[in-house]
């Protein structure tokens, strides 16, 4: 480093100062969700607010668990698993020919995939509502799975094309010379080698379906079909927000995503930047 001693000290101070600010900004609201969930309803509205709960209680969690919320979480889980499985399989099937085969219309297909991935849900919710209504799939979990596929299939395909391209061609050419069919190459060569990539893509699909709000709000409304995001808005109708229960439910719903995130954080960050652009 070509830097004087005082410059190095100044740099260090700036780094730690900036880091404290960044951590406070990023974690403050998350801390506030957790702290609120542990307060009694009286303390929640105390002025000035307490930054550490005086009498921590789990009562908000019990209320949430005794309500219909666990059922909504289960619905979210069923929908997200369905979306993940279908989009990983369909995505891998579609990504393979685009990454490896020569066929007419290939560039058109990859353009269609990226375009579909970029099409925002808020432009599609009314058209999809009409289609699902005509199919009799409004207020069904299957209908919601179909709606989420419109985002996750293009996204998974696009990401997997990138992963498949990083696999050395010699591997599948060797298999081809041994007489393997395309299906065998995909199942026995490409997918095992790209397994970490497939896992990351599956996690993304799961997270998207788990977190999604707009489609859930519009397409499902009865207790048997509502996901937790649609269910939480049920606690906010009108002017009264039941903050303790809302925040406790939020913590319960965030936990699975945070676990995924902590376990796979490095791969997620790599995948995210590889999927949108290659550095």
């Amino acid at each position: 480093m070509v830097e004087g001693k005082s410059a190095a000290v100044a740099r260090r101070i700036a780094t730690y100062g900036g880091l404290c600010l960044a951590l406070f900004w990023a974690l403050g609201p998350i801390y506030w969700i957790i702290v609120t969930s542990l307060k009694t309803s009286r303390e929640i509205y105390a002025l000035p607010p307490t930054f550490v709960p005086k009498a921590p209680t789990l009562s908000n969690y019990w209320t949430a668990l005794e309500s219909e919320f666990p059922r909504f979480v289960l619905n979210s889980f069923v929908v997200a698993i369905g979306v993940t499985a279908i989009s990983a399989i369909v995505g891998a099937l579609a990504a393979y020919p685009i990454a490896r085969m020569q066929f007419k219309g290939r560039s058109l297909v990859s353009r269609a995939i990226v375009t579909a991935y970029l099409l925002p849900p808020s432009l599609m919710f009314i058209p999809l509502f009409i289609v699902l209504q005509n199919l009799g799939l409004i207020d069904t979990r299957f209908g919601l799975v179909l709606a989420y596929l419109t985002f996750t299939v293009p996204f998974c395909t696009w990401m997997l094309i990138g992963y498949f391209r990083t696999i050395p061609r010699d591997l599948d050419e060797a298999a081809q010379i041994d007489g393997a069919t395309r299906t065998q190459i995909l199942l026995k060569v490409i997918i095992p080698v790209a397994a970490p990539g497939v896992a990351v893509v599956a996690l993304f699909a799961f997270t998207h379906a788990w977190n999604e709000f707009l489609y859930a709000l519009v397409f499902v409304y009865s207790p048997n079909t509502k996901t937790f995001t649609a269910g939480l808005t049920g606690l906010t109708m009108g002017d009264t927000f039941i903050w303790g229960q809302l925040m406790a439910s939020s913590v319960i719903a965030i936990v699975p995503i945070f676990i995924i995130y902590v376990v796979a954080q490095r791969h997620i960050v790599e995948g995210l930047s590889a999927g949108s652009v290659k550095g």
Binding site: V2, Y16, G18, L19, A22, L23, A26, L27, P29, I30, I33, T36, Y45, L47, P48, P49, G91, A94, P97, Q102, F103, A112, V114, T115, L118, S122, L123, F125, I126, P127, L128, I130, V131, Q133, T150, T181, N211, F213, L214, V218, T229, T233, T236, W243, L246, M247, A253, I254, I257, F258, I260, Y261, Q265, R266, L272, S273, S276, V277, K278, G279
Partner: protein
């Protein structure tokens, strides 16, 4: 194939079944079939149908009749539409610019040597993993006008002397919505820029340092040009997503007070779902499609190029 007809039929048939290239593209189409079915039935058809619906008076429970441009004409003279379009534009431009600047700053920050750097990065990225709805709820509670913590902190610091109306003053509400959007969207910028930053060969920076270039000068003329591609893709992606942050507006203000904080997607929801006028709601969405199509076409080209490289 133009020359195909000159060959004897038998030879043509054997080449069709025997040529591996030929078999290959049949296999390719079979592999693509499920994705193509989803694309046709759930993306292309609804999209076209949605555009067509904008020219009808369809309601939730009844089929629509063709009404020509009536929906669009009523939008042109609709003050709520003008307000929502303006809000969408200002919000997108401001929020994306702030995320760009803060994203660059925090990426540079997190690339500095520090203890536990991996953990620090995960913690700063954490808002990205919070579901959008819950991010909206937590800010709604932070902005609460009776017991909100933000007003309390500002009062404790002596900056204000009473609760601030973060969400019930329409202009301030747009600022508050923007703040929450920056919180939720910033980690994506930081992650993208950090990845790009680490990919820049350090020799470039060192050479410039030896030439006597200052830190800022090096960042401006060495680092930034190297990141141009990543920056433009990130900004375009984020512009699309920010414009469409339905959940933040829906949770924080619901478009109120007096429909003054709507953005176009929430206005489309208000008309199409709440008031059950699907035709009018579709017209709101169709009216912004041209902007998106341009953005999406540009971005698609970029992303295809960078993946081909």
């Amino acid at each position: 194939m133009a020359t195909g007809s000159h060959l004897p039929a038998a030879a043509n048939a054997t080449s069709a079944s025997g040529d591996p290239k030929q078999r290959d593209w049949i296999a390719a189409y079979i592999f693509l079939a499920p994705a193509a079915a989803i694309f046709a039935a759930l993306i292309a058809f609804p999209f076209a149908d949605g555009v067509a619906t904008a020219f009808t008076n369809k309601a939730v429970a009844k089929p629509g009749e063709f009404v020509g441009l009536a929906n669009f004409i009523s939008l042109v003279s609709d003050p709520h539409f003008a307000v929502a379009a303006w809000n969408s534009l200002v919000l997108t431009v401001c929020v994306v610019s702030i995320k760009l600047v803060l994203g660059l700053a925090s990426a540079v920050l997190l690339s500095q040597p520090m203890p536990l750097r991996g953990l620090m990065r995960s913690l700063v990225f954490l808002p990205w993993a919070v579901p959008g709805l819950i991010a909206g709820l937590s800010w709604k509670w932070i902005f609460d006008e009776q017991a909100g913590v933000l007003s309390a902190i500002l009062m404790a610091l002596g900056l204000v002397d009473q609760q601030v109306y973060w969400l019930s003053d329409p202009q301030l509400a747009m600022v508050s919505i923007g703040l929450a959007m920056v919180w939720h969207g910033l980690p994506f910028f930081t992650m993208m820029f950090l990845a790009a930053l680490t990919a820049i060969p350090s020799e470039l920076n060192e050479a410039a340092a030896i030439d006597g270039a200052s830190v800022f000068r090096r960042f401006w003329s060495v680092t930034l040009p190297q990141m141009r591609e990543v920056i433009s893709v990130t900004v375009m992606l984020s512009a699309i997503w920010t414009f469409n942050s339905f959940h933040m507006v829906f949770i924080l203000t619901g478009g109120g007070p007096a429909m003054r904080t709507h953005i176009l997607p929430t206005l489309a929801y208000e008309y199409g779902v709440t008031q059950s006028k699907l035709g009018l709601g579709s017209a709101v969405l169709v009216s912004v499609m041209p902007v998106f199509l341009v953005l999406i076409v540009l971005l698609t080209r970029r992303m295809l190029q960078s993946q081909a490289r």
